[in-house]
Symmetry: C2
Subunit: 188 residues, 2 copies
Amino acid sequence: MENTRGRKSSREKILDAAAELVAEIGAGRLTLDAVAERAGLSKGGLLYNFPSKDALLQAMIQRMIDQVTESREALRAQMEPGPNLEARLATKTLLNMCCGGKMQEVATGLMVATAENPRLLDPVRTVIAETLDRLKANSDDLDAALLGWLAVEGLSNLEMHNLSPFSDQDRERIVQLINRLLTKGIAS
Amino acid sequence: MENTRGRKSSREKILDAAAELVAEIGAGRLTLDAVAERAGLSKGGLLYNFPSKDALLQAMIQRMIDQVTESREALRAQMEPGPNLEARLATKTLLNMCCGGKMQEVATGLMVATAENPRLLDPVRTVIAETLDRLKANSDDLDAALLGWLAVEGLSNLEMHNLSPFSDQDRERIVQLINRLLTKGIAS
DNA sequence: GCAACTAAACCGTCCAGTCGGTATATAAAT
DNA sequence: ATTTATATACCGACTGGACGGTTTAGTTGC
């Protein structure tokens, strides 16, 4: 059991290191040596935990997905009731990630996967499809829900590639806009 | 001048080849040898046209920007007057790119740049900032314009990474939604 | 005669993955 | 109690191939 605990801790350290490095040096420059050094172990140790680079990237993606899911379910409890709850929850989750400090892990996995092996995005595709299903099943105003969701996707994509032209003020305004859209809908 | 014509044609072939390859094998796997072979010339010929890989990537980005700009200005003439013209134009331009066949060139440049040298995204940053400025300056209903623009950004990002869960039908609906948003605004 | 290449060898570097070895712990055998 | 065995977790030198870029010598078409 101590083994398991030890292994887990190393795995986490490695995933943290990888995410940090992607943010710092770019997705295409991620090397196993760099990850190992940052994580405080040798390359051999790294490859002991993840038998290939691909396995490491896969784990990065999976952790990202898990974090988003966890975060969503944690937020679900705190949501005040009202229309388009699922959509409001989805936007809040993404906003929490991308405007809080956690954006790193959300973005970096995607970027590495896109760079090295687009197939790694398959699980992400599934999650997104599930999100759409949930929205379709649970929205009072699907039009507003779709637009709101897409807008948050757009915003977080801009942020994660550092392409966002928005000031904190702009962003705050946009968040309020989306909430207004989700609660009041599009003018008929 | 014939030189220029010849060079231009080769340059175009090379840029096309690079864009195709990125779409096929992933942004991080783009090699000069592969581009040269696909473009139908030698590596020497490729490096004669673009003295370094970085120069090639830069040109990919620039061509992408030029295509978006051209497309926008071409569409501008055909727009029917009405509120939020600039925002409707922006969305129509992006939709034309991402739902038509031209999405490839729009996306691939971004992906390679993100993978290999994030600095190459600088000009893209500028374009996006300019777009926001144009929206702010020319929108009757800035709220709707911002939301619509972000939604199209979100949609096109999903499409360009092949993450989109939308059917053609869904997409059609979303486009109409955005247009309704831009013409009628958010319910107060 | 020059621009725009071709063809192919070559160099230096980077990097994923391999492999033999080590340290520690726990268990089994004597 | 001591040796032996086994498994876990890790080290780090090394290999082999890929890749960006250079060079050189020759070719083609205007």
